[in-house]
């Protein structure tokens, strides 16, 4: 803990609780309350209503929510497949090629999402690949943005794994394909689930690139929330945020249960 006396430790704990409460818990609580507030002029909301939440789970808002869920699922599945494959393919290799591939795969992590969005917009607004105005450009942006996280999660897990475990299987007569399917992949399952969860959460919350790229028929929930708050509809925005949080949480819990089961085996 670095601090040894009882008093200073208590002071630190109290300080932490206050700061954490003010900057993390309070905004979330306010959003929760605002989502059900009929009006809010004083310290607390003046009356409660379910109208905002009802609006956020129907019509355009519902469509946005579904778009977000589909985008996140596709981006997450794509990034686990691509990032996981890259991690497996590069595992064990060393030298310049490995460093180059590592750098390229981590690049989108270092580049601001606005830059990724602008880059895609400029690159795909003209033939031969005209993707601007289609949902594909949003999906590609999300995939590009979450791929580094999937890759590094799986890659780190493979680095930690005992390199001899694949050799054991080979000594027992397993072909390389069999080693991959029956030993290496099952052992990496917790990491794959973790990377899927991370990709899902990141994609559900992505705004920077999406707002530059989204076509009218593929508006994600964060874009909707931004639009609502931009025109001052704070209660509606709060209600949509609650929906966003709820959907993300459900997805993460589902993946977490996969991970726990895989780790327990």
């Amino acid at each position: 803990m670095l601090v040894w006396t009882r008093t200073s430790r208590s002071v630190l704990v109290v300080l932490f609780v206050v700061v954490f409460g003010v900057i993390v818990v309070a905004p979330l609580a306010v959003i929760g309350l605002a989502a059900v507030a009929a009006s809010w002029r004083g310290v607390l909301p003046g009356g409660l209503t379910g109208a905002h939440l009802a609006a956020a789970t129907g019509g355009d808002a519902l469509a946005s929510a579904l778009v977000s869920v589909q985008t996140a699922l596709i981006a997450s599945a794509g990034s686990v497949l691509l990032g996981g494959w890259a991690a497996f393919a590069l595992h064990g290799s060393r030298g310049r090629i490995r460093r180059l591939a590592d750098g390229l795969l981590h690049l989108p992590m270092a580049v601001p999402s606005v830059v990724v969005g602008l880059g895609l917009l400029v690159a795909f607004s003209h033939p031969p690949l005209l993707l601007n105005g289609t949902r594909w450009i949003v999906l590609i942006a999300h995939l590009v943005l979450v791929l580094p996280f999937s890759y590094s999660t799986v890659s780190a897990a493979l680095e930690r794994a005992d390199p001899d475990i694949a050799l054991v299987a080979a000594c027992l007569g397993a072909s390389p394909a069999r080693v991959l399917l029956t030993v290496r992949l099952p052992l990496a399952l917790p990491a794959l689930a973790a990377s899927a969860g991370l990709a899902l959460a990141l994609s559900m919350g992505e705004l920077g690139a999406t707002i530059m790229l989204y076509p009218p028929d593929w508006r994600t929930l964060p874009v909707g929330i931004f639009a609502q708050s931009d025109r001052g509809a704070l209660f509606a925005a709060s209600a949509s945020t609650v929906v966003l949080l709820g959907l993300t949480l459900v997805g993460l819990l589902a993946l977490n249960s996969v991970r726990t089961r895989a780790a327990e085996r």
């Binding site: 001899d164 050799l167 054991v168 299987a169 080979a170 027992l172 007569g173 030993v183 052992l187």
Partner: protein, 352 residues
């Protein structure tokens, strides 16, 4: 190269700053121990036999079949790695069934084979358990069963007992000896523990700096070390005999049986072992009852660190470590007739 050898290999592996060049031969059913200090190349030799490390030159022949260029997964080998490396996502049963499955045996039949094998190993209660639920000794035996289930013709064991605590090691070592006796192919085991080599192996190959420095039966190696490393390594007097209570009749190659008194009761075939430093030398026959005393003649004296190692010839050939001062006080020299004494408490005796 003998045509009837179960294993015949010359392993040359060259790496930056390191060269392994070792010849290995084994008869059917024979257990060969590769003994050597860390970095001597014994694990590299084992991996080269498995095809996990490419040979720079040389050959690997198992039961007349040349495997030099055969990929690992097609070699008829069973390998037990140092930390056993059981597949954590499979039950003990599925771990053992893995080898047969790779050979195309159907799932049900592979599992039946594995269950049989685990049963023979006394592990049927553990068949359903995950590796992390097994004790160290159980994991070692599951790993051995997994290697044997693939019906290998060459069994490779990398430090099979190093991952166990000292208490478990004794029991697992003697069981391993029994398991290896049932295997009719050649076994090569790597160890840095001289006791493992003495108990488990029919033949010992000592490797230092990538080269074989000594080969022979364990007893021969123990009696006539050729390098300081081997002498230090086998710093034990080890004999085999038949125990009946606290009395052990030790058979010595040349001469009749010698009686050794031990502290705890044992029965049947046993090993008795004691360290040279446990031996005391006397001018006259010493008194005291739990003490072993054998007449002997001093065969050789050599300095050995800050001790003097006295080689004794007699009914029971043995080495004794004494201080130079003690030797001077007794006024002993080569050829003198003396008595060697060892307290029964100092003698380890265990089932052979």
């Amino acid at each position: 190269m003998r045509p009837d050898a179960a294993l015949s290999a010359r392993l040359v592996v060259e790496r930056a700053g390191f060269r392994l060049d070792a010849g290995l031969e084994a008869d059917p059913g024979e257990v060969v121990a590769l003994l050597g200090p860390n970095g001597a190349g014994k694990s590299t030799a084992l991996r080269a036999l498995a095809g996990l490390v490419p040979l720079s030159s040389g050959h690997v022949t198992v039961e007349g079949t040349d495997l030099t260029t055969t990929p690992t997964e097609h070699r008829p080998i069973g390998m037990v790695f140092q930390d056993y490396l059981l597949f954590g996502h499979m039950s003990a049963l599925d771990n053992v069934a893995f080898g047969p499955r790779c050979q195309g045996v159907g799932r049900a039949r592979a599992r039946a084979l594995a269950a049989d094998l685990l049963d023979r190993f006394g592990l049927s209660d553990q068949a359903r358990l995950r590796p992390r639920e097994l004790s160290g000794g159980q994991a070692q035996r599951v790993a051995l069963a997994r290697a044997l289930a693939a019906r290998p013709r060459l069994l490779l064991l990398d430090e099979p007992l190093a991952a166990l605590d000292a208490h478990t090691r004794v029991a697992v070592r003697s069981r391993l000896r029994g398991d290896l006796a049932d295997f009719d192919g050649a076994t090569v085991l790597v160890t840095h523990d001289p006791l493992d080599a003495m108990v488990l192996a029919d033949r010992v190959t000592v490797i230092e700096n990538g080269a074989v420095v000594q080969q022979g039966r364990p007893a021969d190696i123990a009696r006539r070390p050729r390098t300081a490393y081997v002498a230090r390594l086998v710093g034990l007097n080890l004999y085999r005999g038949v125990a009946s209570g606290t009395r052990v009749e030790v058979r010595v190659a040349d001469g009749g049986p010698v009686e050794v008194t031990i502290a705890e009761r044992r029965y049947g075939d046993v090993f008795v072992a004691f360290a040279p430093r446990a031996v005391a030398l006397y001018r006259e026959r010493p008194g005291g009852s739990p003490r072993n005393a054998w007449p002997a003649r001093i065969d050789g004296v050599e300095r050995f660190g800050d001790q003097v190692r006295v080689h004794l010839d007699g009914d029971l050939p043995l080495s004794a470590d004494v201080t130079p001062a003690a030797l001077a006080e007794l006024g002993l020299g080569v050829g003198d007739r003396i008595w060697a004494g060892v307290k029964a408490m100092e003698i380890a005796a265990y089932q052979a």
